[in-house]
Symmetry: C2
Subunit: 264 residues, 2 copies
């Protein structure tokens, strides 16, 4: 197999499984080429990614070492994408009576949510995340894509207790904006003890739901090492959570909604 075909084959594998470490041996056997040739192929891929500023291919040294694609978008690509999404979200037809914003279609469009997930993953890639946790419903796609780029499982908390989840752990939480008390549930088998969890949600208003997820993670004797949200409603000043990363910030004044990139 010629070099340019090998380069393509290696890239296909790395991109199919971002965050997963592949050894040189793996490619050497699969593509029937010397390890030294594979090594040179990877140098080519690295310089390609660097030159076009489209991502990051990393070599991990040591016994369990190898090569992997790391989540990465250039600042310019991030800005362009997030400004475009902000623009889309400010369309008049998206305002819903009661001061709500319709944004589900963005999170349900794979090519947007992939990029958004990669942006969040890039932020937390060095935090040794074991799980991404979210709560149904609208945060699930963003959680999945973030977990994809971090190469970890997604955990989905539920607002109802479902038989099909088996034994669950539940906590009660107060909605930060309405003050209502609710319960969230999570399958007991879904998080092991002593793990590092990144919480991802679609919208932050008062922060009660995120606070609930943080409590839930404690019940699993694991640790929350980060919180990321798609949209932060900045007009809600009092938050039950202080330290978080928001991709977009939203300001509401009367029936005017303004959005802008925040996580750059």
């Amino acid at each position: 197999m010629k070099r340019n075909m090998r380069v393509g084959a290696i890239l296909k594998t790395l991109m199919d499984y971002p965050g997963e470490i592949f050894t040189l041996n793996y490619f050497s056997e699969r593509l029937k080429a010397a390890k030294s040739s594979i090594s040179e192929d990877i140098v080519i891929l690295k310089s390609l990614f660097r030159e076009l500023n489209i991502g990051s291919i990393e070599t991990i040294t040591g016994a369990s070492g190898g090569v992997m694609v790391k989540p990465y978008k250039s600042d310019e690509d991030k800005r362009r994408l997030l400004e475009k999404i902000s623009e889309m979200l400010m369309g008049k037809e998206r305002l819903i009576p009661g001061g709500f914003l319709y944004y589900a279609d963005i999170l349900y469009q794979a090519h947007y949510v992939k990029d958004l997930g990669e942006i969040i993953a890039q932020r937390f890639v060095d935090e040794r995340i074991d799980y991404v946790m979210t709560i149904e419903t609208k945060g699930i796609t963003l959680g999945l894509m973030t977990a994809n780029y971090l190469n970890v499982p997604l955990v989905v908390a539920r607002k109802d207790n479902r038989i099909s989840e088996g034994a669950t752990i539940s906590i009660n939480y107060v909605s930060g904006s309405t003050g209502n008390l609710s319960t969230m549930y999570c399958a007991k088998r879904s998080i092991k003890r002593g793990k590092r969890v990144l919480i991802v949600d679609d919208f932050l208003r008062g922060g009660g739901t995120v606070r609930g997820m943080m409590d839930l993670v404690s019940e699993f004797e694991s640790e929350v090492v980060g919180v990321a949200v798609f949209i932060d409603n900045r007009s809600q000043k009092r938050k039950m959570v202080q330290d978080y990363y928001a991709v977009l910030a939203m300001d509401v004044a009367g029936d005017q909604i303004h959005l802008e990139p925040q996580g750059l």
Copy 2:
């Protein structure tokens, strides 16, 4: 830029956006190369995909023509993956009292659900799908990945009416297995009239939920052109839906659960 780097750059773009058509002009401008060179690069990528049997790169001719990655997995890759997942699902610890099976973790692991979504997309890629529809909660990740490979939006029906969805269309449906009556809702703006919809769900028992989604699509004056599920419980003989594609088939006898690949 050298050929092997161009090949990598083109592949990266095609893989980032499966199902999207890119013109030769696009690559020619972006990579500062003659269209004839880009054309040869694409020939290399095509033969790479064919030789390794890892996917399909298609050239679409005509005014809006260009090149795209089509969802494709070889029969051998499908069989290997689906047998592995079946095996995992037959673990004793997955049986939940009441004859339920715990499978959420598979659908919440990005690398499995990507492959499962690609398998479904491959089946329906020539059906000119406009939307993939699913219902919360566990089907969402599979729906998203299917929609990703078909390059169409996902639509998520909900079991509660949420203010943040704006105006909704709702239908009542009968659960095929329990006989209970429920309501499902879908944002009015989420599906345009006269479109072709693929329904994706995680589990088919009596088929009442799928039947409900079919009714919902009719209310949008659109058409269901396919139904795909992750697991079909074959032990439930009476189904409210006849024509569907299942990735895995499940048989239950007492507390024994057997799963096997079906969609090969």
